[in-house]
Amino acid sequence: MSSFLQILASGLVLGCIYILLAIGLTMVYGILQILHIAHAAVYTIGAAVGLGVFNLTGNFWLSLPVAMVAGGITGVLIYLGVYRKILDAPRIVPLITSIGLFMVAQDLLQKKWLLGPYMHAFPAQVGLPALRTPYLNLTSNEVLILTLTFLLLLAVYLIMNRTKIGLGWRASAQDRDMAAALGVNINQVIALNFLIGSILAAAAGVLVGVYYNKVFATMGDVPSYKAFVIIVLGGLGNIPGTILAGFILALAETFLVATVGFVLPRDAIAFLVLILVLMFRPKGLLGGS
């Protein structure tokens, strides 16, 4: 029983990280129908900035918000500088652009004057209490990830459902041109969309860095790929679906690895899930028929 709960908990922690990364992707897809591959770069930049600030000040609670702000700014700049110019082009154009951006960011991060080709430790002391019960132990990092994800998701929910700009977002996701005709400031809505998504991605980057105690230039590769699987699974542009799918994938991975062991490389599970979903439910688990 205790080991079941323990596996469940570590699956949930992993799911939180996937979700933080995937929400931005699904939001961008919902409103622009772009597969925002460069989102992974924002995640890594978040982790790198967080690590940089932590190394300078030694204060985790300062490095987290700074990284989130830096990630948010990066995301908005990507939209204003690049995507905004090609919104009406055929869909292959923003896709290839996004791949190019990701490639440039990752290559530059690997240079010696940034992260370099090494692993960096991120030995931050979070200072939250650890949870110790007879059935379940959570480290203070795990407590941090679970609480912070909950708070951030709550904030996104409130923005989406309780503010005027959230209303504008939902209208734009249904029909961008119609929303624009009805007076929604599309540009502002999309920029905000990138801001929120990128802030979450940067937070995910910092959390992963602290949780696994490492930050490196290519850390975005596999998680971002999994985030894509999750948004397909959740039905593209569907935020609740994405949250559900994030937990499902993380739990599936954690339980399969814990019970069956390494039959396949762990990362291949996400791929098999993707192929199965694409073949049998192309609109995602919660998607319409």
């Binding site: 090609i86 869909r91 923003p94 290839i96 490639m103 590769d221 694409l278 192309p282």
Partner: protein, 293 residues
């Protein structure tokens, strides 16, 4: 006549030209964007390397086997493209690449992270192919690829592929089996890339999983985008220029992925048809200058 270094670079350019041309069949003709082309490259390389080192086949049957096997795998991996379009296919191909590298890395049969070493050079009647002779082999294969691309673009099959690219529903209404031609494109594209992989393995003598990683898929795509998607001349120019440039310019070599990525972004923003693709600025100028049109 030429220095060894020059010949090496020509060989690499030739192999990457085949890769770019084969991606062009899939992406340029049939309109199926693939971010996993390096996976086909890798499957071809590993097939040939394993057959020659573990089972002591000679190069020639191993070369043919890697073409056939990669073609079959290509057709199989093309199956998702029947259900999903555009962006989703991109994700599926990207995943193929990750999984392939994962399998090469973690399954002992494929040599793990240490790769496969001591892959023999091709030989025929006592002549060992190295240096210029290997270049000749690569050029023959490139010529075959060029002929196949040209043939496809002139034949009904090429027309059918283009119809699939521009509008699948309309193509289906006109009696073109979209599914069949998509799978054909995947098979041909995969098979050609597999042959390139075999040549690469026997040229280097040792291969490692990371040679065939996702980043290499992007490199191939950026060569195609740079030259001009859908054109044979564009694919050739893109491959030769972008493969040779980082070798000769040290600064570019250190930042080669920044270069490849930057090219993708800038081309998409300013010249989405490529440098010498149809309707690109430069190609229009050249045509005007030649007095055509």
């Amino acid at each position: 006549m030429f220095g060894q270094y020059f010949i090496t670079i020509l060989i690499l350019c030739g192999i990457w030209a085949v890769l770019t041309l084969s991606l062009n069949i899939l992406t340029g003709y049939a309109g199926q964007v693939s971010l996993g082309h390096a996976a086909f490259f890798g499957i071809g390389a590993y097939t040939s390397a394993l057959l020659t080192t573990r089972y002591s086949w000679s190069f020639w049957p191993a070369f043919l086997a890697s073409i056939i096997i990669t073609g079959l795998v290509g057709g199989f991996l093309g199956l998702p493209s029947l259900r999903v379009r555009h962006d989703f296919l991109v994700l599926a191909t990207m995943g193929i690449n990750f999984v392939m590298v994962g399998i090469f890395k973690y399954v002992d049969f494929f040599g793990g992270a240490m790769g496969i070493i001591n892959i023999p050079k091709p030989s025929l009647w006592g002549i060992v192919f190295r240096g210029e002779k290997f270049l000749l082999l690569v050029l023959v294969y490139l010529a075959f690829t060029l002929w196949l691309c040209y043939y496809l673009s002139r034949r009904w099959a090429g027309l059918a592929l283009r119809a699939v690219k521009s509008d699948e529903d309309a193509a289906e209404v006109c009696g073109i089996s979209v599914a069949r031609f998509k799978i054909y494109a995947f098979i041909i594209s995969g098979a050609l890339a597999g042959g390139a992989g075999s040549l690469y393995a026997h040229f280097l003598g040792s291969i490692f999983p990371d040679h065939f990683a996702f980043a290499e898929s992007i490199v191939i795509l950026s060569m195609l985008v740079f030259g001009g998607i859908g054109t044979i001349r564009g694919a050739l120019l893109g491959a030769f220029l972008l493969k040779a440039l980082p070798e000769y310019l040290r600064v570019v070599g250190d930042y080669r992925y920044t270069l490849y990525g930057g090219i993708l972004v800038l081309m998409m923003l300013f010249q989405p048809m490529g440098i010498i693709g149809d309707k690109s600025w430069l190609w229009e100028k050249i045509n005007a200058w030649l007095g055509r049109r």
